[in-house]
Amino acid sequence: MGEHTIPAPELIKEEILAKYPTKVARKRKKSMVTNDGNKDKALEIQANVRTVPGIITQRGCTYAGCKGVVLGPTRDIINLTHGPIGCGFYSWLTRRNQTKPAEGSEENFMNYCFSTDMQDQNIVFGGEKKLRKAVQEAYDLFHPKAIGIFSTCPVGLIGDDVHAVAREMTAELGDCNVFGFSCEGYKGVSQSAGHHIANNQLFKHVIGTQDKEPEGKFKVNILGEYNIGGDAFELERIFEKAGLTLVSTFSGNSHYNSFANSHFADLNVVMCHRSINYVAEMMETKYGIPWMKVNFIGAESTAKSLRKIAEYFDDKELIQRVEEVIKEETIQIEETVAKLRPNTEGKTAMLFVGGSRAHHYQELFNELGMKTLAAGYEFGHRDDYEGREIIPDIKVDADSRNIEEIKVEKSDEEFRDYTKSDKLEWSEYGGMMRDMESGSLVIDDISHYETEKLIEAYKPDIFCAGIKEKYVVQKSGVPLKQLHSYDYGGPYAGFVGAINFYKDIERMVTTRVWDLVEAPWEKSTQVEAQYAAG
């Protein structure tokens, strides 16, 4: 494996497009780009546009982005799905939302699934009454600090006003903050719309609503870290070791009060740019908190990100401690890489997943000496590929216009002037393409057909995607690493995470079972001849 000539990407692209009906081909063409390796300016790619009906996509919906990704990982908000039973059921624990409440009395609703289970008559006569009852019942049973209501497809159509119900119930219950999300599945072209909606509402209803300033000298929020496989636990460990105070993670291993006090942070660092850049922007406008893009996937990226944070605070002691942490952690990293790299060097990977992971994980493959042949996002926007500087050029289409843009203003009392060193990159993100080699294929919203063609042509040593793709790809004899669920392994973030990832990848590209795929009687005619003779 690994040692085969790679066909020219343009040829593959042509072959794929040839199969499509003309209109589809015209559309898909713009979402498939051969990267030119230009570090200054990435090529233009079409992204965040509607999926072609019938094309078999990786994508999910707005509700999944809102309830599943962003709000899912917070433990003490009751996430109530307003809709038929399915949506709530499928988002019930399937994103591995690990969380660690203090033993005993601390609230944790993570393992529960709450739904209004709308029936026929609720669709005909409206579901607000049932929703109100459900909120009341949830309150009576659990007395939570907050209840989030998530709208599913039919709710928007029949015109239930979840925000009105939320306001009413907040007033009625007194000590419970109830807020709604208009995150109907059809609202956008992918999960990404849901992230936006989630962030808007969190900003409006939760962030900055309490005034208990956390103690600590260097206060940081991590945005866009969802604690899959315990990633947030590992980052918490590193932060503590380095002497940084983590005010809140949005939203891995998080709780309500941490959001409500997050405006006291001195710095926001953004992991998954796609899912949460909105919060960073809004917090900067209102509270003056600067933000920077970081990446804790990969040992080098983690070290680099820590240094960036220390540099921001410009404190000698902190800088020194960060260096010590890096030094200490690097020993094991080097040992592991030295041991495993001979088995991974020169092997090839492809990543089609998420809205950041397809970028971040290339770093880990680099560290293993592996090459990324092709990559793309399931729900990225052009800026995730090309960098933030193209944001003003992005055409706003009907689907994006659907999502409320909330107007944020500077808060006179709470705004703080944080000094920014101009040595650091602020509010910047260069996108995925700049970090990829010339000749690599970049494909947005890849279809099943395209996936199969890529595998056929490139035969990568490993393919990264999600659960829907996993067994399809493996049936072709190529191992698939799930990057949404990590195949129930992890963590992969931070230093310990990098080691876990190296080991898992080395295992996957050397597992002997792939050599057993072919039965002996299919391998050579010699065997047949033997039997015939015997």
Partner: protein, 460 residues
């Protein structure tokens, strides 16, 4: 404690469902459609539903689950999804070349009132359905019934769109298995074959959702009932529908449309339900029951008598799908166990009636609930009121099992955290033996775990 907020005080709820024992219709329609050879299921609605349904089936079967979606955005939701579906049908036939597309609706397309049938007639008229290919459809609004109802609707659609009475009998018996595992479908076929009964099993997900790994992905694996067989189902001599919730509708329609007589039996789980199935097969096809069934049955009875002390009087809580819970409850009762709490989210009066009859017949003071607010939260509250010795149900039960320290048998859909359910059947006498073996294993492990050193036994 994973479910630390659950207490024993049961209060009536009207608005809130907590930890449901059901999910929505389309996932069942998708699963049923995968049991047709060369079929690509298609979900008419926004793509999130389709993604969720594919993920759920994939996590359970650990196999590729292919399906298209109409990918509605706001526009389609307001103006109707006709254009999306027409385009989807055209794209699917051009790119993925299935024999048949099985379309189901979602709550979204149902709420806006899209008429699938009408749209698909238009697709045909517009020449978007190639010669010799078919499109069938089923309405599956998620705010009615459950995943089981959706399964039933798609099986009904197979009959509605394809089965024909040509006037010439094919001498076969139709077998409608209901929502069971691929291995269970294989088991039903195997029982019929051993009896010498020619049959058409539909749907049939064996060899589709347990396809071998041979180094090439087959978009349409070798298994599945063929279109020709589905057409010919109208010429069969009889239909045995297993489970009234998932299979009766199709049998009824086949009777109405093609005049094929039918009977609804329980899914053959345990001894008595298997007895009834075998008797029926023998009767309708006019064949003798081969002697090896007697031996197989005898082996199961033998194991039960050997191990009866470990089963007797054990209190059990079970949750899941009605067609499976009914014969399973009966089987547990035959094992002298006490299935005291039985919960199914799928609505339908027949379920409570049957379970209550069983309670009465065997003298059990048990609780049963299905329909609205019949959920795992309630089941857990009952368990907190008075404990049980064993919990049986899908993967989500593991949270209760851990909190209450209960032996837990995974059974039903979905099972996300174990393998085996799709490979080793729980149907027929052979499957009965597997159920008993698993239950005994749990009890034996528990006894070993809890035994003080001086009472730790070698032989059990």
């Amino acid at each position: 404690m994973l479910l630390r907020h659950t207490t024993a005080d049961v209060v009536e709820r009207e608005g809130l469902t907590i930890n449901p024992v059901k999910t929505c219709q389309p996932v069942g329609a998708m699963y049923a459609a995968l049991g047709i050879h060369g079929c690509l299921p298609h979900s008419h609605g926004s793509q999130g539903c389709c993604a969720y349904h594919r993920s759920a089936l994939t996590r359970h079967y650990k196999e590729p689950v292919m399906a298209g979606t109409s990918s509605f955005t706001e526009g389609a939701s307001v103006f109707g999804g006709q254009a999306n579906l027409l385009q989807a049908v055209n794209n699917i036939f051009t790119i993925y070349d299935p024999e048949i597309i099985a379309v189901h609706s979602t709550c979204l397309s149902e709420t806006i009132g899209d008429d699938l049938n009408q749209i698909l007639i238009k697709a045909q008229e517009d020449g978007k359905v190639p010669e010799g290919k078919s499109v069938i459809s089923a309405p599956t609004p998620s705010y009615v019934g459950s995943h089981i109802t959706g399964f039933s609707a798609m099986v009904e659609a197979m009959v509605k769109y394809l089965s024909i009475n040509s006037g010439k009998s094919n001498g076969k018996v139709n077998l409608i298995p209901g929502w069971v595992e691929p291995c269970d479908m294989r088991q039903i076929k195997s029982i019929a074959k051993r009896m010498g009964v020619e049959n058409i099993l539909f749907p049939d997900t064996s060899d589709v959702l347990d396809a071998p790994l041979i180094g090439k992905h087959q978009m349409y694996p070798d298994g599945g009932v063929t279109k020709e067989e589905l057409v010919s189902a109208g010429d069969s001599i009889f239909t045995i529908a297993m489970g009234s919730f998932a299979s009766e509708q199709a049998a009824k329609l086949l009777n109405k449309k093609c005049n094929v007589d039918y009977e609804v039996l329980d899914i053959p789980v345990g001894i008595k339900a298997t007895d009834r199935f075998i008797m029926k097969l023998s009767q309708t096809a006019g064949v003798e029951v081969p002697s090896d069934f007697k031996s197989e049955r005898g082996r199961l009875v033998d194991v039960i008598t050997d191990q009866e002390q470990y089963l007797h009087g054990k209190r059990v809580a079970i949750f899941g799908d009605p067609d499976q819970l009914i014969p399973l409850t009966e089987f547990l009762l035959d094992l002298n166990m006490e299935p005291v709490y039985v919960v199914s989210g799928t609505p339908g009066k027949y379920f409570e009636k049957r379970i209550k009859e069983l309670f009465e017949q065997y003298g059990i003071d048990g609780k049963v609930k299905n329909g609205p607010q019949a959920d795992m939260f309630l089941l857990h509250q009952w368990i907190k009121e008075q404990g049980v010795d064993l919990l049986i149900g899908n993967t989500y039960g593991k949270y209760i099992a851990r909190d209450e320290d209960l032996p837990f048998l995974r059974y039903g859909f979905p099972i996300y955290d174990r393998v085996g359910h799709s490979y080793f059947t729980t149907l027929g006498y052979e499957g009965g033996l597997r159920i008993v073996e698993k239950i005994l294993g749990l009890f034996h492990d528990r006894q070993d775990r809890d035994a003080p050193e001086e009472r730790f036994e070698l032989v059990m």
